[in-house]
Point group: C2
Chain length 219, copies 2
DNA sequence: TAAATTATGTTGAAATTTCAACAAAACGGA
DNA sequence: TCCGTTTTGTTGAAATTTCAACATAATTTA
């Protein structure tokens, strides 16, 4: 567990808590970890939400699949990111999404009730934990709004450019790698893959971007 | 202010707090109210987020408009609903959305910092307030996911049917009124208005729904 | 009540997306 | 390195959406 302290320190849930505090709290919170191989379903749609997940290593995708089999990708999470926190807070009996391991990933699970209700040990910094969780929830709302901003655009071209512009801002750079392959990017933008590929080709011809696989450069 | 106690009691932010407690807290929180006429902009895109808003009467819409002038409606809020809570929690310097009064509406504003940081008076139930705010944030995340579920559908017909099915579930009834006119519904579903009207006509002919203005009945 | 305004429905043409099928390129394991 | 697999690119046809323009209905205002 101690190996992951560096990750936890960067995790917004533990913001402003000392190493010692984090370690003590993990006990109170009854945190446990698990490893999942690539493509393994960590949490599946329809199951009850009880635990908050923290990505300790690797990366995961939040997805949903409708009855026609169309997959929609809601987001990609990396080291230090949390998932399922909103559903766990609400004690939802049926998760509306699945969480899939993108690669071999280690995940920490924390029972949400242990965060919301301070323990008898009276951890002095439990309050900070609650405060942090609130910030995480607020950030998630903003993240989804961003996804709505992207997918509300009417054309594949605009969706892609809106997404890439946001990526560029995040990276403070015009060139960057995205965490999706073509099919995944299409499922995130909610468009057809072949149409997306065609659009990327056009943008390349128009001199608007360079691109090689998941590397993009805006010109 | 006292007239609105009935609304505040139903407001999730004050869940599980007694009337007296609510009244006491409003003082500590330095809550203030304001009235806005129909179509008035309560908060505008780009301005800093400082206050949480509570709809005391009337209703408001959360909207965003891109540089081409395309309006996107993120949601419709009624009596007792909160808005801007995520942005205020994050102390965002530039709100990504606007909030517009749908009709003459009275709004209560609370400085988010007063909720997050317990006051010197040591209100005994301040903790409950924080806990409630967390649930509100979690619920908002779920609300946005629902909007994404709707707009991720590829055709106008599917978007509309997904939306109406969710409405029917919420109302526990196959017939209900929606809070949107045609243009607003189109802006919420992120589709063209005339195309939406055409699709409604088709669904009517196919015997799948009845509809008169904002009243719908699924068959 | 009539007139003006706003909301909704209808239509056809143009643009775009999806779909299916296949080609080309990149990758991974033996 | 070779081969099989996966990913990406390309294409044309069919379906759908958008757009513009106008007709009709409902609501509001004078």
């Amino acid at each position: 567990m101690r190996n992951f302290l560096n990750v936890l320190k960067k995790c917004p849930l533990f913001f402003d808590l000392s190493d010692d505090n984090i370690i003590t709290m993990l006990g109170c919170l009854k945190a446990r970890t698990d490893i999942f191989d690539k493509n393994y379903t960590i949490l599946s749609e329809g199951s009850p939400a009880k635990y908050i997940g923290i990505v300790l290593s690797g990366s995961v995708q939040i997805t949903r699949t409708d009855y026609y089999g169309n997959r929609s990708i809601l987001g990609n999470l990396c080291e230090g990111d949390l998932f399922s926190e909103a559903f766990a807070c609400m004690q939802m009996t049926s998760m509306p999404v699945s969480v899939i391991a993108n690669e071999r990933s280690e995940i920490m699970f924390i029972d949400c009730n242990h965060i919301l209700h301070t323990c008898q040990n009276g951890c002095p910094h439990h309050q900070q934990l609650i405060y942090n969780l609130m910030k995480v929830l607020a950030l998630k709302t903003v993240m989804f709004q961003q996804k709505i901003e992207i997918t509300s655009k009417r054309s594949t071209r605009e969706k892609l450019l809106t997404y890439l512009t946001i990526c560029a801002k995040k990276n403070n750079k015009n060139s960057f790698k995205i965490p999706f392959n073509r099919q995944e990017l299409a499922d995130y933008l909610e468009v057809d893959r072949s149409g997306l590929s065609a659009e990327i080709s056009k943008l390349r011809k128009d001199g608007i971007l360079e691109c090689k696989r998941n590397y993009f450069k805006l010109l």
